[in-house]
């Protein structure tokens, strides 16, 4: 009996060890470039579409981590990424000013939109951003916030501050979700509430429902709602290990005619999600 047990144990141990050995990284070339970016560029499928074109054109492989803008910036600060693609211009300018990033270049934009249930409980349809936020506050309508220091969250906070003087913190109708955009939209949909989203993610959300989603756009086109994306290289002076040369080539390609055309051609449900605007 002991012999049989030992044999079976031996098999299992062998399989375990083999599994462990296989997982050792095989360096078949150089380490890929590490991009830290936001959930909106990833969830919309833009990166799945754009990055293979970059690799094909320039021959550099890229891995990317999609988290909120806050965490992406922090990863760059900690030298855990080589290049960033984010959308929080005010925070980005501070970031470059503090020396964490260099060579910030405008890439593309879309706009933010407010979405809400068809029933429009707070009656905000067709009004401007500020008027709507005031009404939402008055009517205590459910509002789902990203609550995670992302670019979208920062835009939302600046709107509350400009329009109503402050964030409706701790209010029972104000839900600080602390997760990505699609998760936040889903929470708003569950509670028939409102939220702020970038148009790209909204189109993706629409596509998930074959064009018939529970939440629709209620406010758009307000001058305050421009959503600007930029690419920033992690500062090689602070982070000597950062693959700066390749990061630069990545940024160069993105702002080149080829990259900008690729961005402009990205479609979901036949709609353009991002408008290229490098160098403007």
């Amino acid at each position: 009996m002991l012999h049989l047990f030992r044999k079976r144990l031996g098999w299992i141990a062998g399989v375990l060890l083999l599994g462990g050995v296989i997982s050792q990284p095989v360096h078949a070339g150089e380490e890929p470039l590490l991009l830290a970016t936001t959930t909106s560029t990833d969830d919309t499928g833009l990166l799945d579409y754009l990055i293979p074109q970059f690799t094909e054109a320039i021959g550099i492989t890229v891995k990317w981590v999609a988290t909120g803008t806050g965490k992406a910036l922090k990863l760059g600060e900690n030298c855990d990424a080589d290049v960033l693609m984010v959308h929080a211009p005010a925070a980005e300018k501070d970031y470059v000013g503090a020396g964490f990033g260099v060579n910030r270049r405008q890439l593309m934009y879309n706009d933010f939109v407010f979405i809400g249930a068809e029933s429009d409980p707070a009656g905000v349809k067709g009004q401007g951003a500020c008027a709507s936020l005031k009404r939402i506050m008055e009517k205590k309508a459910v509002f789902a916030s990203r609550g995670d220091n992302s670019g979208t969250h920062k835009m939302e906070i600046s709107l509350w501050k400009t329009c109503t003087g402050g964030i409706p913190e701790k209010q029972p109708w104000y839900l600080e979700v602390g997760q990505g955009m699609l998760a936040t939209i889903n929470m708003a949909a569950e509670r028939s509430g409102y939220t702020l989203t970038d148009r790209g993610t909204f189109i993706k959300y629409e596509a998930n429902y074959d064009g018939n989603p529970p939440l629709r756009i209620v406010i758009e086109g307000d001058a305050n709602l421009i959503n600007q994306y930029s690419v920033i290289e992690v500062n090689p002076a602070r982070c000597p290990q950062a693959k700066n040369e390749r990061a630069r080539k990545f940024g160069d390609w993105l702002v080149s005619k080829e990259g900008q055309d690729a961005i402009g051609n990205f479609r979901l449900l036949d709609k353009q999600l991002f408008t290229p605007n490098a160098g403007e």
């Binding site: 002991l2 299992i12 375990l16 060890l17 599994g19 462990g20 997982s23 030298c79 855990d80």
Partner: protein
């Protein structure tokens, strides 16, 4: 509700149509859990044996600390490991962040207390007269150790199965240390988290079922060890 049914159908689709992303996640999960389980068993069983077998001052304290570590949240472990292996951390040079090996390290920390604690319990419940019997038969220290492990094998098996379950299902460490990078460090559990966050519930259910199938396969093979050995 219909996403659960859709999920079951999708699970078969993903598995039998060889969906590349799913198999990439399965492979990642298998690799890290093999590594972390191997290391935690190799270190944990002897440590657990010592904790259960020997009497020493502060034994109760050590046992309490180990048992408390059973309650370490995975996100917390992930954060600690990140602090160490980040570029700015003490182990930054090793380039372990956003790799499978990095996740395995975190999972080993997760599994060790489970293995140690349950092994100690198994060894403690051995018959008291075993030691004297072995000594009277002229056994060396090493032989006493090996015989003790053999006698406690069923309890140790429970330790291994429990630790494997903990390791296969955790998200916090994989997410924080691995970064959920597609094709590289996306595991089944981080894939489930991503899909559910995107609202793709059917895919989330499908991946969950794939994970269950894996766990079942593991336990099936371990059950052969349990048979009247």
């Amino acid at each position: 509700m219909d996403f659960i049914v859709a999920g079951i159908a999708k699970a078969f689709q993903l598995l039998f149509q060889g969906d590349r992303e799913t198999y990439s996640a399965v492979l990642a999960t298998v690799q890290i859990s093999s590594l972390s389980m191997t290391v935690s068993l190799l270190i944990g069983i002897p440590l657990g044996y010592c904790l259960g077998y020997f009497d020493f001052p502060g034994k109760k304290g050590v046992r309490t600390v180990v048992d408390t570590m059973l309650a370490l949240p995975t996100v917390f472990i992930g954060l600690l490991v990140y602090a160490f292996i980040s570029s700015r951390g003490p182990l930054g040079e090793l380039g372990l962040l956003f790799t499978l090996s990095g996740i395995a390290i975190g999972q080993t920390i997760l599994a060790l207390p489970v293995v140690i604690s349950l092994t100690a319990t198994a060894v403690e419940s051995l018959d008291r007269s075993l030691r004297l019997t072995l000594l009277s038969l002229g056994a060396s220290g090493r032989q006493i150790f090996l015989t003790g492990i053999w006698e406690a094998r069923l309890g140790i098996l429970v330790a291994a199965v429990t630790a494997t379950g903990r390791v296969l299902t955790e998200v916090g460490i994989s997410m924080m240390v691995g970064g959920n990078i597609k094709w590289h460090t996306r595991t089944i559990t981080t894939a489930i988290a991503l899909e559910t966050n995107k609202g793709q519930f059917a895919t989330g259910i499908a991946l969950g079922l794939v994970l269950l199938a894996m766990a079942f396969a593991v336990n099936l093979s371990l059950s052969f060890l349990r048979r009247r050995a």
